[in-house]
Amino acid sequence: MKKRFCLLLLAAFLLSGCHGAIAAPGDSAPATDTAYTLPEVFDTSRQYEITFWAKNDTNMTQVNIYKQAIADFEDLYPNITVNLRLYTDYGKIYNDVITNIATNTTPNLCITYPDHIATYRTGEHTVVPLDSLINDESFGLGGREVRFDAPTREEIVPQFLAECSFYGSCYALPFMRSTEACYVNKTFVEKLGYQLPEVLTWDFVWEVSEAAMAKDASGNFALNGQKVLIPFLYKSTDNMMIQLLQQKGAGYSTDAGQIQIFNDTTRELLLEIGSHAQTGAFSTFKLNGYPANFLNAGQCIFAVDSTAGATWMGSEAPLVDIAPEKLVKFETAVLPIPQYDPENPTMISQGPSMCLFWKDDPQQVLASWLFAQYLLTNDVQIAYAQTEGYVPVTVKAQQSDAYQDYLSRAGEDNDLHYSVKLEATKLLLESTGSTFVTPVFNGSASLRNAAGQLVEDVNKSVRRGETLDSRYISRLYKEVSSLYRLDQIRTDPGAAPGEIPAASKALLAALALCWLAMGAYVVREKTRKSSKT
């Protein structure tokens, strides 16, 4: 009897070691999602509670704009309550959405990037494809049943809407757009004996940065008389690498997700960046701090950041992080990022978009869709764009009298009409045709992070006194590829996952043997005891 019991127990232990092969989200993800069908009528007799995860720069004005938009929307639709949850980092929204996909507790609507949506989509029925929603006659963009003046499809800047389409469908609506700009201490450039061109080139920036490194007899930098000067600071190193490769016409990735970033052009670029980091002429936000802090303290000449960061740039900036006595007066110029071909500038297009998540109740999805449309109305678009160097995503808002008036009043004050902010805004408005986006696929967010990591690691290695050569770069490629699992990005989402690696097979076999051995020991001890008695 005891023997039988022990054998049963052993069998139970063995079974507990086996786990059902739950399909990993990416294993059977369809290439295109099922089209979402909106209900024909919005049931106004029911109450709806929708959750909106929003990103802001902790500019309190932005927070208040969200809250005002929610209040105004709820006035129009009293049966819809919008719960706002704020984040200051896209990465955190991404992480939280990924965590909640597994438990089906995603928000109704969130601010996101197309790269992130590509990963969300690996789950079944996660992100709602918006094509049928956009074109719906009743509730689509500018539909007849919509209670506010929503833009039509044609009134959204086509390029911005196209950036949200991939895998054959539109998965997001653009919310705001920005690009990168170079904020220049023009006073310092002229003090060094240079004239600022209309479009910066990389050669010019490197040359001026190196020239600025000269020191006087007391060991201070001759240019600013201080002990600290980092002539060229870049905020977003992933954008830096992506734009460098784009300008050089070198590989980054294919649309299908084939990684092309580890090439000779990248190698040359990294070695060049490393050489300037070695002289101290270049550094990054992650290593030294926010570029605006250095620019405003007279410790930087070229500070590259988003046009949305214009509110912090310049000695008269409305938002300043450093002590007032540290501010230095200088003339700020806002220029496109450095180019290899100034005749044909290219720069990245970025900015928040909005996506909707599948819910069992189609009325809830409709309520979320209505709110998403409300965020595209002129009032919200113009108000939010005015907080920083963002640009409204609708032609309707861009060409409105209110927005044109706003643009025409640059320099009237150092707050709403701060000249640097408006110059940055106009830079994007005038360069929309020169912007580009990177391919979107499951893993593109990791690839973007890897691109930035290459630049960061080179800078860190310079500080550690490591030798930067071809062998170093080859080693760096392997480390970054492994860190971001770029070798595991599947170019064909429909394909089978592939064979389990030999090391994993060995580990699983060892685990099974351990369980068998433990079970056998238990049975043997029981048998021995019972035979003694």
Binding site: Y87, K92, T99, A102, T103, T105, N293, V320, D321
Partner: protein
């Protein structure tokens, strides 16, 4: 060589040895205490001054308490404190209840499969907490316990290590006491509360203190299952200050929050350090 010379040399060697020991201990103390000094120093530097420093300064000539004000106004840190106290007290009380009864059962009672179950418990100690976090997350979500105190407390209630520790302590109580109590007609529960618990009070205090420290420092689980500010703990609060302060990391305010949050634990440790170290030594783990 006479006795006095030997004595002098021995004394000298002892003094030199002591000097070297104290010198090394001083260096180590500086290395260990410096982060605390840096934490307090940063908490009294103004935000602008902190961001302006190229080379971090080891002193400040214009200390300010504004960061302490900011720490409590940027986020509802007072509310987070209250949540943490409730979470700590609730978890510790429940844990003690479960641990005492479980340890008593394993130490004193006889039931079928006792050794197998206890062996299974010990085997569970081999599984790192991180492995079960996702499973617990799914379970708590399916039970609709996210953003709730039960959701925060329940996964932390059962601690195999503390059950083992207390069980070993209970086992050391002589059987004679139990038989004598039984002869007097004492029930098991009465024997537990009147005899075993008073004898094992030092261990109980140790596991209580260790659990309080563990709950106070808890971050991963609360961060995972709460997204409603009403249920955030102080660990979330520090993270909120880090993200929401002035649009950038507000390190001075963060440090001020950390100073305030660390104070109760520091006081607790100073009051009960002997018991904590004894418990840690007994268990062989870091507190």
């Amino acid at each position: 060589m006479n006795y006095e010379t030997i004595q002098r040399r021995t004394a000298l060697a002892r003094r030199i040895g002591k000097g070297i020991t104290y010198f090394l201990l001083t260096l180590w103390a500086i290395a260990v205490l410096f982060p605390f000094y840096w934490m307090v120093l940063t908490s009294v530097k103004s935000y602008g001054a902190y961001n302006s420093e190229w080379v971090p300064k080891l002193y400040t000539l214009s200390p300010t308490l504004e960061n302490y004000v900011n720490a409590f106004s940027a986020v509802p840190l007072g509310g987070y404190f209250l949540n943490t106290i409730l979470f700590t007290l609730g978890t510790t009380a429940l844990m003690l209840f479960v641990t005492v009864l479980a340890a008593f059962a394993f130490a004193r009672l006889n039931f079928r499969g006792k050794n197998l179950v206890f062996t299974g418990f010990l085997a569970l100690m081999m599984i790192p907490t991180e492995l079960v976090v996702i499973t617990n997350f799914v379970t708590i979500t399916n039970l609709d316990l996210r953003n709730s105190f039960p959701g925060l407390i329940l996964p932390s209630v059962a601690s195999v290590f503390y059950i083992y520790l207390l069980k070993e302590n209970f086992s050391q109580i002589p059987d004679g006491l139990y038989y004598a109590a039984k002869v007097d007609g004492t029930s098991d529960l009465r024997y537990l509360t009147r005899v075993m618990l008073p004898i094992c009070r030092p261990t109980l205090i140790t596991i209580t203190i260790l659990k309080v420290i563990e709950c106070w420092n808890s971050y991963v689980w609360p961060r995972l299952i709460t997204d409603d500010q009403a249920y955030f703990l102080v660990s979330n609060g520090i993270q909120e200050i880090r993200e929401n302060g002035f649009g950038r990391e507000n390190i001075p305010a963060m440090m001020a929050a950390v100073v305030v949050i660390s104070l109760p634990l520091i006081v607790l440790f100073l009051m009960f350090r002997k018991k904590i170290m004894a418990g840690v030594a007994r268990g062989g783990t870091k507190g």
